[in-house]
């Protein structure tokens, strides 16, 4: 790929004159912060996005990759972060979907199964291809996506942040399989932001920063994670926030034997969950995504009613309370910024005063006090360093980090005793992540009760005072992150014994 530029309309410059090359049979890591252009570059290579400028050559021949079908014909395939599989089909059916082996127009399911099984064996991918897809773990489904590409005979396999929601054990397994693929002559692009992983498996590394290529170099063991981080961010970074020990006091959130059945009644989405969060402590919830975290939050916020059990916040029974009533007791930073945390087309001010508008000084009988609203917005924009033209700018024009700051500022300034944070640093750059983590620690030190849900195990280990592990809607372990090792947490998440 030579001199690639990409401008997304109206004026987002995603890539500036980037050169990128792949050598047959290598594992090439592509690293950079969020927004550095990694995904755009790979989407261009796999035909999802067309470049504004530049050319691409495959085996010396100049090509136009106008869509993913063309990319597949050239032997290029990508496994996206969001997996796109049909859950109700068998795994092998998903692999062959779109180009099924058939005879006279009739499908040959046995043949499909046989081919896919052979493929999995050949490349050493450990996954049950005869299983129904939705029954597979995330790691399993990811392997199905990889098989899908292999079935289409790709030579260049692009993996977009494949380890983002895997446990340490699953990551280990994936790395072995990547090594296997490499040995069989496949070229792999590994898009990532976890630097130790990058250093572990890649042959070459390309660093992008703000749309520009900083460097490409051989991973010959001379470079350290800290140096790599510096290249990514452009300056020295301290990744770990320091934490002091604190005595915990009275309980603020008490969830007692909370259960939630699915609508049809059959499945237990939450199974007798009991959680206590005290004032002045951060309690983390670890678990592989999709094991009940979403439901737990919905029940806690009041979007869904629990089938049985009891929730108490600050000594008040809120089991049957509405969202509105609960919001006067808790602050909440949702995982989905754009669809839950913000109204993107509304102004910064309108986003900042949400929930504050429920009480004084903003609410005055029927009215919303305009000057109090403006004061609050001005105070928060200044206090939390939100970069925007003014408080009447639409939130959608802000950068991701600043959007998250709007949410964090709003929720912290509510000054509730309980704060629930769902993936508060997902998708943020290094500086914003650091900022959010510091805010979380400050809350704890101010005596607030903090419930932190995250799929980033490192984050949970760094921040939490106590850690619950959730699996299949059940709390399977309560651990002390100071004394327990990350791999042990991983075992609990997966449900295998050490």
């Amino acid at each position: 790929m030579i001199d690639i530029c990409k401008v997304y309309p109206p004026n987002v410059v995603a890539l500036k004159h980037v050169d990128f090359s792949l050598v047959r049979g290598e594992v090439h890591a592509l690293v950079g912060e969020n927004g550095a252009g990694k995904s755009t570059l790979m989407k261009i290579l796999s035909g999802m996005v067309r470049p504004s400028h530049g050319e691409i050559r495959v085996n010396g021949r100049r090509v136009q990759i106008s869509n993913p079908v063309v990319a597949a014909r050239l032997g290029i395939g990508m496994v996206h972060q969001e997996l796109a599989l049909v859950g109700s089909l068998k795994a092998y059916e998903n692999v062959v979907l779109g180009s099924e082996p058939s005879r006279f127009g009739f499908l040959k399911p046995e043949l499909s199964l046989q081919i896919v099984k052979g493929l999995a064996e050949k490349f050493g991918l450990k996954v049950d291809v005869a299983e129904t897809t939705q029954e597979l773990s995330i790691a399993g489904r990811q392997k199905i996506e990889i098989l899908k590409q292999l079935y289409r005979n790709v030579d260049i396999l692009i993996l977009d942040e494949p380890t983002a929601s895997l446990t340490p054990q699953e990551t280990e397994e994936l790395f072995e399989e990547i090594a296997n693929l490499k040995r069989q002559g496949k070229t792999i692009v590994f898009v990532a932001h976890k630097l130790d992983e990058v250093l572990k498996i890649s042959d070459r590394i390309t660093v992008l920063r703000k749309g520009e290529k900083i460097a490409t170099f051989e991973n010959d063991g001379t470079i350290t994670a800290a140096q790599l981080a510096e290249m990514m961010v452009g300056r020295k970074v301290e990744l770990v926030s320091t934490k002091t020990f604190r005595e915990r006091s009275h309980p603020v959130l008490v969830m007692n034997e909370l259960s939630l059945f699915s609508k049809t009644g059959g499945k237990k989405l939450l199974d007798e969950i009991s959680i206590v969060v005290h004032a002045g402590e951060i309690v983390g919830i670890a678990g592989v995504e999709g094991n009940g975290q979403k439901e737990l939050i919905e029940v806690l916020i009041g979007l869904r009613k629990a089938t049985s059990g009891r929730i108490e916040i600050s000594g008040k029974d809120v089991t049957d309370a509405s969202v509105r009533e609960r919001r006067s007791l808790l602050a909440y930073v949702p995982q989905d910024r754009k669809n839950v945390g913000l109204a993107l087309k509304a102004t910064v001010l309108e986003n900042l005063i949400m929930t504050h508008h429920m009480g004084p000084p903003l609410k005055k009988k029927w009215l919303l006090d305009n000057s109090s609203a403006k004061n609050l917005a001005a105070r928060l924009i200044e206090g939390f360093n939100i970069v925007c033209r003014n408080s009447f700018e639409r939130v959608q024009n802000l950068s991701g980090g600043n959007q998250q700051k709007v949410i964090i500022a709003r929720e912290i300034s509510l000054n509730r005793d309980l704060i629930v944070l769902d993936q508060p640093t997902r998708g943020l750059d290094v500086a914003s992540t650091r900022y959010v983590r510091d805010q979380i620690l400050a809350l704890r030190n101010a005596g607030k009760a903090v419930l932190l849900i995250s799929s980033d195990l490192d984050e949970l280990m760094d921040l939490s005072d106590r850690l619950y592990v959730i699996r299949s809607g059940r709390i399977v372990a309560e651990l002390d992150p100071r004394t327990v090792d990350k791999t042990v947490v991983g075992y609990h998440m997966l449900g295998v014994s050490a």
């Binding site: 909440y332 669809n339 109204a343 929930t355 429920m358 919303l368």
Partner: protein, 348 residues
Amino acid sequence: MNTVRSVLQTAVAISLAFLVAALFILLQRSSPFEVYRALYEYGLGSWFSFTNTLNASFPLILTGLSASIAFSSGVVNLGQHGQFLWGALVAAVAGVYLKMPGWFGTAFLAVLGGLVGAGWAALAAFFKRKYRMDEFISTLMLNFLAEYTTLYLATYPFLDPKAYVPSTRMIRREYFLASFFDVNLAFFVAVFMVFLSWWFLWKTWRGYEARMMGYNKLFATVGGCDVETDTSLILILTGFLSGLGGALLILGGTQHRFMKGIGANFGWDGVMIAIMAQNSVVQTLFYALFIGFLKNGAVGMEFETSVPSEFVMFLQAIIVLTLVGARSGFASLSDWLRARSELRRLMK
């Protein structure tokens, strides 16, 4: 900047629509110039035409307002037609049989019409709350019920036997709404409702919640907004505006009685106006006046040329299409130009 741009867009789109319509007029072997001149003269050309336009637009202002407020709150009230008819019928019938002092009676009948419209919309609110029925469907279906129930009531129980078409008797003369320099008071009431609605949406906390609900309902819910009550309230409020429009048409229009077809297309014109106005309350006033101008001018156009007044419906449709098209066209064009200049800077 944004205001300038949107005024410019609107001007271009409307001119374009008139140009396209001119082609069709030519196809009919009429002179577009003559047609548009007649449209202007009868729509705006004299004090008489101008005040007639204002008097023709007050029902449109109210149904347009009703739709705008509902849509901007994410509530799909499409029942303006039915709410309008009920407001008109009840005001017409009560205006025949109830005896009250003049000015009080007029005010009472207007409010009564509004309340009946609100009540009709409240049915949809009730269905939504109790049975989770989508207001999109329920308000739409309630239109049919309203259409034929009001027609039945005007044709049988309250029929004026002397009338040519099914209609009720004329309301008492003392309830007729007065005019002020030829402009009916109903117009001023409608404009006042525009201000009141603006105040509600932008100055009260319920209005804030409603607007946020329109932007993103999940955001509002999680933020602690009282979405269930807000939704019901907006349905009832917008029902009131439509019903008030119907009542004012009886009190301040020209018929002073409920007759078959009196609801005309006011309900759907309101929805169209809201779409053109992008659900903005202030723009709704402007577009309602504009549509009122077209409708009023159309009468004269039919007088003077061989082009039928229905042609204005055709013109309206073209205007809506070019307006909506121009908005997205302008946006993508300016995006594309900016992207290109950005790329050029990168190439240097």
